[in-house]
């Protein structure tokens, strides 16, 4: 028999077993109810596709080509009516509290009908992740309860995340690059808050959001040491919306320019800064900044993978439909072996992409941002407690500094770096896998469909335009490959240096 010490030693060799097979450990710990909830979510998404996404997908895309200034306000109102903007907000913050991995399945479903429409829903949760990852429970409660109120009133309240700058895209995704980069969004500390100057670009849904999570820097020469997170509300003095981009695809979802000119952000809207961090951690600022970035991208990149899987599925469905209805040499196209082989590969790509986001979600659930909410006893506790309990018992505690400090310690001080790395690495793996396979499927659909694939009215060409953005946002796939190396490979090869050619 092999001793436990031997097993432990051998499994820690490259690739460390606990990193490489993270889902195996989470499988037995997963609350069974999650599966039931995921099935419910998929069913809701399919109903939405039938009633809203499919009928609107090409119509909105064409409308935005005809009039690039078009804003999909009605679509946002429709998604709000369906309850999608609170579905994955934890119940303690006034949301419906669906389990977070279920959002990936939802994303796959809706993206299979329209990536642009899915982004109109999904990018709000990029903002939500930005809020929750900060551990600032007081501000999270304030902002997220407005989202819930927006659902009740019929006036959507969306959150966007503003990180990218005109001169800094990849730089702002990685702390190692941040200090060498050229960020320019400056936050000057003044009495009672910060004064912000700068511009953010490519901010999805910026024009249609009520709140924006804004990253700015108090010292532009050392941004990694001076990152601050601020909540800014549309309409605040000094905050204006610039142009929105004329993109190739995902046209239902505007990408906005946000301009800050002496915009005063009061202390009560500071999500995190030096003082906030010091209250719960003595770790270096850059470590905390990287942890924060890792939490956000570990949650959002598997979502982008799911978007890619959705597009891959959409392409498969278009190709299947075409091949079933088209004749070649007197036989249905679908009867030809070369077509069957391509369709089979497309199906395999969808399945492989899905496995990738499932594994990344398992990592988050076992060792990352979701670990408290998906921990079985807590999961059922939050699931079964009545709404009144959250309102009367939990909600008041969220305003207390001690709660923020406790959440900060759990998230930043007590979290193990190897866990954070594992989640971030898997998120990057999922992102590049889902989006690359998605592009492969969209190209394959066009190849099978020939001339029909070029037509806007048949939808395949839109998929090819839409999917390409997924290889770029949430960190280019090139950066994500480097992050995968950093998180899942480099720890076993400590002499390897990163970002230092």
């Amino acid at each position: 028999m092999v001793s436990r010490a031997e097993i432990r030693a051998r499994l820690s060799n490259f690739p460390p077993f606990d990193d490489a097979s993270v889902g195996l450990s989470y499988g037995v710990r997963m609350p069974r109810h999650m599966v039931k909830q995921i099935r419910e979510v998929v069913s809701i998404a399919r109903a939405f596709n039938e009633q809203v996404a499919r009928p609107l997908s090409l119509e909105i895309d064409r409308k935005t080509q005809e009039d690039p200034s078009y804003m999909p306000r009605e679509l946002v109102e429709t998604a709000n009516r369906w309850g999608f903007y609170t579905m994955w907000i934890p119940r303690m913050f006034g949301g419906k509290g669906y389990n977070l991995p279920s959002m990936s399945y939802f994303s796959e479903e809706v993206a299979s009908a329209c990536l642009g429409i899915m982004n109109v829903i999904g990018v709000h949760y990029l903002g939500v992740a930005g809020v929750i990852s900060s551990a600032n429970t007081r501000l999270a409660k304030r902002v997220l309860s407005e989202v819930a109120e927006g659902e009740r009133s019929g006036w959507p309240c969306l959150i966007s995340l503003a990180v990218t700058e005109p001169g800094a895209g990849t730089d702002v995704e990685e702390v190692e690059l941040l200090d060498k980069g050229s960020v320019s969004c400056h936050a000057r500390k003044v009495k009672g808050g910060y004064v912000v100057n700068g511009t953010k670009v490519f901010i999805s849904m910026g024009h249609l959001s009520t709140w924006t999570v804004l990253y700015a820097y108090t010292d532009l020469r050392h941004p990694a040491e001076s990152t601050v997170g601020l909540m800014v509300k549309t309409g605040m003095k000094g905050f204006s919306l610039g142009s929105h981009e004329d993109k190739m695809g995902q046209r239902a979802c505007p990408a906005s320019e946000l301009v800050f000119e002496d915009c005063f952000v009061p202390d009560e809207l500071v999500l995190f800064d030096e003082g906030h961090a010091r209250a719960f951690s003595k770790k270096p600022r850059r470590t905390l900044a990287q942890t924060y970035i890792d939490y956000v991208v570990s949650a959002t990149r598997p979502g982008v993978c799911a978007f890619g899987v959705g597009a891959a599925r959409g392409a498969l469905e278009k190709a299947l439909d075409y091949a079933s209805k088209t004749q070649l040499n007197g036989r249905p196209l679908i009867d030809h072996e070369w077509v069957q082989s391509r369709l089979a590969q497309m199906y395999a790509n969808v399945a492989l992409g899905r496995l990738a986001y499932q594994e990344a979600n398992h990592a988050n659930s076992l060792r990352g941002l979701y670990r408290l909410l998906q921990f079985k006893p807590l999961y059922y506790y939050f699931l079964l407690m009545p709404d009144a309990y959250f309102k009367r018992v939990i909600s008041p505690t969220l305003d207390k500094r001690i709660t923020t400090n406790l959440m900060g310690r759990v998230s930043f001080d007590w979290a193990k770096q190897e866990d954070i790395r594992c989640c971030s690495g898997w998120a990057s793996l999922a992102k590049i896998t889902g989006t690359d396979l998605g592009l492969a499927n969209c190209r394959a659909a066009l190849e099978i469909m020939g001339a029909a694939g070029l037509r806007h009215d048949l939808g395949a060409e839109k998929l090819l335009r839409d999917i390409k953005l997924l290889q770029i946002y949430e960190g280019t796939n090139q950066l994500n490959r480097l992050n995968l190396f950093k998180c899942l490979i480099a720890p076993s090869f400590p002499k390897a240096r990163m970002f230092d050619e």
Partner: protein
């Protein structure tokens, strides 16, 4: 430097380059807005005056008297700036070369003579279908009671149908099922045209779905010669379409390179990030090897020899595949900016995929390429014909 064509073609290359810089480059985005903005008729008119629509027509018939290589030089050069005009020139050349293969060069040249405008001079052609492989989808030709041949059926995505007054259209013959080619007057009452169909790329080379309802048509070849006639020019047309792709990918590479040496991330030009350098290297290799292949292919494609045509068509299909990869990397190097309309990379991505669908789906073109070889090899082994 683009494709290594023969030096005698330098004047054509320079003419195309100067035209592209003056007439295309300043208005690419506006031209690309069609069908939601007017078509660039002024530019088409100037291209016609420059002789771009008569490159393959003999000089004595009013053309430029160029060969396939001349056409490829022109297509590559203008497509490196705006492939929509390349597609328009290509569509017309498809019609002219096919008509020439059917009825002789003089007859093809006559189709252009006497035209008062570009609309009257150019010909529409269904260049997204393979008239032989997809013969079962073609319109039917039959004899009218008056003894004239009439066509009935639908021609999807007939390129330039909203611009040209005439089209060269394939149809299954009344005298059997072989493919024949016909000249159709698109202004006749029996012809119904959709508006310009919104497609992935080539927005300024509009295609329309055209329905023919017993429309009188002029036969261009004898009933059993259509497939053979098209087969004699197919490799050449495929090579010409690949010249568009070669131009697109060159434009994409040059744009990516220019961006990569001025954009800084992590404190240095992104061109100095070895992963980005590697992408640029892959793009460069694809551009240069395509250039070599295309130059050789354009000399072989009209040899009339089956083996030469096989080489040429193979090279063309390879160039199309490479282009689809290059344009994707071309966006990637520019990141978010590449996805926006500002730099033209997204248009190149769309146009390259559109170009690869010329004459139908890529796999079908591959199958049709290897088909004769399989048949010959099978016969050599005593197999069934």
């Amino acid at each position: 430097m683009g494709t290594v064509f023969k030096k005698e073609l330098t004047p054509m290359k320079e003419l195309a380059r100067a035209f592209s810089a003056k007439e295309l480059a300043p208005n690419i985005r506006e031209h690309d807005r069609h069908p939601f903005a007017p078509l660039f008729m002024d530019t088409l008119e100037k291209a016609y005056e420059a002789g771009f629509f008569g490159v393959v027509i003999p000089e004595e018939l009013g053309g430029a008297g160029g060969d396939l290589e001349t056409l490829c030089v022109l297509l590559e050069e203008i497509s490196s700036v705006d492939a929509s005009l390349g597609a328009a020139v290509f569509t017309n050349a498809c019609a002219q070369l096919t008509a020439g293969a059917c009825a002789g060069v003089k007859a093809a040249g006559a189709l252009m003579s006497g035209a008062a405008s570009v609309r009257e001079a150019i010909l529409a052609f269904p260049c997204y279908l393979h008239p032989v492989i997809e013969a079962e989808t073609l319109p039917r030709a039959e004899l009218s009671p008056g003894g004239q041949e009439v066509l009935s059926g639908t021609v999807p995505l007939l390129s330039l149908a909203t611009v040209a007054t005439r089209a060269v259209v394939p149809a299954r013959g009344a005298h059997g099922d072989d493919v024949s080619f016909f000249l159709v007057d698109l202004d006749r009452d029996e012809v119904t045209k959709s508006g310009p169909v919104l497609t992935l790329g080539f927005h300024a080379c509009p295609a329309a779905d055209v329905t023919l309802d017993r429309v009188p048509a002029l036969r261009l070849c004898s009933p059993d010669k259509g497939s053979e006639a098209f087969g004699s020019v197919y490799a050449a047309l495929l090579v010409a379409s690949a010249a568009i792709s070669a131009g697109i990918m060159r434009g994409s590479y040059e744009c990516a390179l220019a961006y990569a040496v001025q954009r800084r991330q992590g404190g240095r030009e992104i061109a100095r990030w070895s992963e980005v350098t590697m992408m640029l290297a892959d793009m460069l290799i694809a551009v240069r090897s395509s250039g070599l292949a295309l130059a050789q292919a354009s000399r072989l494609a009209l040899d009339g020899d089956a083996s030469s045509m096989e080489y040429a068509a193979s090279a063309a299909l390879t160039v199309h595949s490479l282009a689809c990869g290059v344009v994707s990397d071309g966006i990637q190097v520019l990141g978010g900016y590449g996805y926006m309309k500002d730099y033209g990379q997204e248009k190149r991505y769309r146009d390259a995929h559109q170009a690869s669908a010329v004459f139908g789906s890529h796999p079908l073109k591959k199958l049709s390429l290897v088909g004769p070889a399989v048949k010959t090899a099978s016969l050599g082994q005593g197999g069934m014909p």
